[in-house]
């Protein structure tokens, strides 16, 4: 899976993806392509299945007993829902940052070191911690307090720590599930700058409620909404600038101009 001799343009791709919770169809027939080293935003109203789709990319839906998916999610041209795919390795390669900052109740240092060690990291942990904290633009704020509990950090710092923690296991893709919804505007801007910085080396997929955030921070935007039977569908997918200036679909226009119900 890590064979990247011929990197295709798309790192991850879905084809006709349907996800069900029991009998309820949460998303319907999603086909999307995510380009390497770009930030792609998924926007849409609550309950339209944005997070469900995001969690399908690293099989976090496995932990919801009633959830199952049909269709394909291709990662390096391999369907990740195939039984032969090891979800544990997949989740290392496709990291995730959650809605609420969820650092481990350990020190800042251990928060970063744990994931790496658990994944078999054998290098210099001190260097790794410094490197990832610098990447996450957190180093200067915490370098003197690495042994301090991560829970003592502010919400924005915690979220950047979670990003650093995800980077420490050397992923290729970072999924962000409304990473700024619990943060204030200044912390939000810091995370957005950070995303821009990280997109040089990582592919980022972000789910957001905040349209300004999608407009500011992403290269591509995909608009989801709910079908008449409450299943999420993908309405439009294009470059962010086009989605926000020349939406092709009336529903997209209604949503981004705030006319949506």
């Amino acid at each position: 899976m890590e064979d990247m001799n011929q990197p295709s343009k798309y790192v991850i791709e879905t084809r006709g993806l349907n996800i069900f919770y029991g009998d309820f169809q949460a998303v319907k027939d999603i086909s999307l392509q995510f380009e390497r080293n770009r930030i792609t935003a998924i926007i849409g109203p609550s309950g339209c299945g944005k997070s469900t789709v995001l969690r399908a990319f690293n099989r976090m839906n496995d932990f919801v007993p009633s959830a199952h998916a049909t269709g394909e999610v291709l990662y390096h041209d391999q369907n990740i829902n195939h039984p032969s795919v090891d979800a544990v390795q997949l989740r290392r390669l496709i990291g995730m940052v959650f809605q609420k900052p969820n650092p481990f109740p350990k020190s800042i240092y251990d928060n970063i070191a744990w994931g790496a060690k658990m994944n078999g990291f054998r290098g210099n942990t001190d260097d790794l911690v410094e490197e990832t904290l610098r990447q996450a633009a957190l180093w200067n704020e915490v370098k003197d307090n690495l042994k301090k509990s991560a829970l003592a950090l502010s919400g924005g710092q915690q979220q950047r720590l979670c990003i650093a923690r995800a980077l420490a296991v050397r992923p290729e893709i970072i999924l962000m599930d409304e990473p700024c919804s619990a943060l204030d505007p200044i912390a939000t801007l810091k995370i957005e700058d950070l995303m821009r910085e990280l997109s040089q080396n990582y592919t980022i997929i972000i789910v957001t409620h905040n349209m300004q955030q999608a407009a500011r921070a992403s290269d591509y935007t995909s608009f989801f909404t709910m079908d008449t039977d409450r299943a999420g569908i993908m309405v439009e997918y294009n470059e962010t600038s086009l989605i926000f200036t020349k939406p092709k679909d009336q529903r997209t226009e209604d949503y981004i101009t705030g006319r949506f119900g």
């Binding site: 690293n58 932990f63 544990v88 959650f98 609420k100 969820n102 481990f104 994931g115 296991v169």
Partner: protein
């Protein structure tokens, strides 16, 4: 808490009055609720204090001791200063030949330790007897009257203040005279019993809780059945567990619990091991339920974070779920230990002896335990046994609190790791 009607805001007088009255009634109800809760807490404290005071009251006080034989007539020096030969000499002179022969069955009297011989002299010859005993409070209030009464009724007796919970009480084993009886074998029995109980129940209980919370599907009918059964088993009377233990460990598994399988010369299955395993069964539901509760209280976001980094289920459980749940698990363990150490009924059924004078020698020995000893003493008619029962209750409480202190220390260590 100001009983006066408070100031309210607004311009409409009528509405203001109505609101004032409404507010007043709400505050009144709030005060009533508060006093009810204070009262219930107070009642609980009073009950606990009464329990402690009663036990302490009985565990010390004046006693009137009469010796059957005056020690001064045996020797002109105090017994503790005599050497083995002299003590053995006294025993031979004052006891019947048969009795001496019985005592010498395991070896010559002269070869026994000096303290054993002193004890023998006291028990066999001097035979101090508590002819009258008083509780703590009467002793404090009527001191002079007690001494006067004793002087009249028992001219040869000595009045002394006795702490029934004393060093000798801890060192001696069960005896037929309350003055010489102690809790040593019972205390050791209880401790070994609890050790076996915890070593068995803790891993099984935590393991089952992990399985039920982290692995088992809550939708599966079998798992729901198991869950319901565990919840119900927590309420099954302990005597039922005793009968189960009797059938399973004492009888069916006798080769194992008597130690025959391990080449120990076990008499029967009525051993510490059987009792410990029965107690483990008894506390298992409590342990599992508490551990499940603790595991459930670990926020799901931590599991998600761990899985999101590519951790396996076991890594997530070991590194995040268990450390987070450990304080709660240990709290449950404290409750379970408290239950097990005071439980009497199952021990009677699985065959704890009420009269045993030797220390338990390991998992395959017959035994007695503190609650059994207390139960036995409280059923005896002599008042002195009531006092040593109270003293044994204190020993039990102290043992329980010490065990719990260890668990609390462990719990605080885990809670502090954050």
């Amino acid at each position: 808490m100001n009983p006066m009607k408070p100031k309210t805001f607004g311009s409409n007088q009528e509405m203001q009055d109505a609101e004032k009255n409404f507010l007043y009634r709400r505050h009144q109800r709030a005060r009533l609720a508060q006093s009810v809760f204070q009262l219930t807490t107070l009642l609980a404290v009073i009950f606990l204090a009464t329990l402690l005071v009663t036990v302490v009251n009985k565990s010390m006080g004046y006693v009137v001791v009469e010796n059957k034989v005056n020690p001064a007539t045996l020797s002109d020096r105090p017994l503790s200063e005599l050497n083995n030969t002299e003590l053995a000499q006294i025993l031979r002179e004052n006891l019947r030949k048969n009795r001496v022969r019985t005592l010498e069955r395991t070896g010559f009297l002269e070869d026994q330790s000096q303290s054993t011989l002193v004890q023998l002299v006291e028990a066999e010859i001097i035979q101090p007897e508590v002819v009258e005993s008083y509780n703590l409070f009467p002793s404090l209030i009527n001191r002079s009257k007690i001494k006067a009464d004793a002087a009249v009724s028992y001219p040869n007796a000595k009045v002394e203040f006795r702490y029934w919970l004393n060093g000798v009480f801890l060192i001696n084993s069960m005896a037929s005279q309350p003055e010489l009886a102690g809790v040593r074998s019972a205390l050791l029995g209880s401790l070994q019993l609890i050790l076996i109980t915890i070593l068995t129940a803790f891993p099984i209980g935590v393991g089952a809780a992990i399985y039920l919370e982290e692995y088992a599907s809550h939708k599966s009918r079998i798992n729901r059945l198991i869950q319901t059964n565990i919840d119900n088993l927590a309420g099954v009377p302990s005597i039922v567990y005793g009968i189960l233990g009797l059938a399973l460990f004492v009888r069916a598994l006798q080769p194992f619990t008597s130690g025959a399988l391990f080449g120990v010369d076990g008499q029967n299955g009525r051993t510490i091991l059987s009792a410990g395993l029965t107690m483990a069964l008894l506390i298992l539901p409590i342990l599992i339920i508490n551990a499940q509760e603790a595991i459930r209280s670990v926020p799901d976001s931590l599991r998600q974070a761990s899985y999101g980094l590519g951790a396996t289920r076991w890594q997530t459980i070991w590194h995040h779920v268990l450390p987070g749940a450990m304080p709660g698990i240990l709290t449950g363990t404290i409750l379970a230990i408290s239950r097990a150490i005071g439980e009497t009924a199952p021990l009677i059924v699985v065959g704890a002896s009420t009269f045993i004078t030797s220390d338990p020698t390991g998992p395959f020995s017959s035994f007695t335990a503190l609650p059994i000893q207390i139960y036995n003493w409280t059923t005896r008619p002599q008042p002195a046994f009531q006092h040593i029962a109270a003293a044994a209750i204190l020993v039990l409480l102290i043992a329980l609190l010490s065990l719990n202190a260890v668990a609390i220390l462990l719990r605080n260590r885990f809670a502090k790791r954050v």
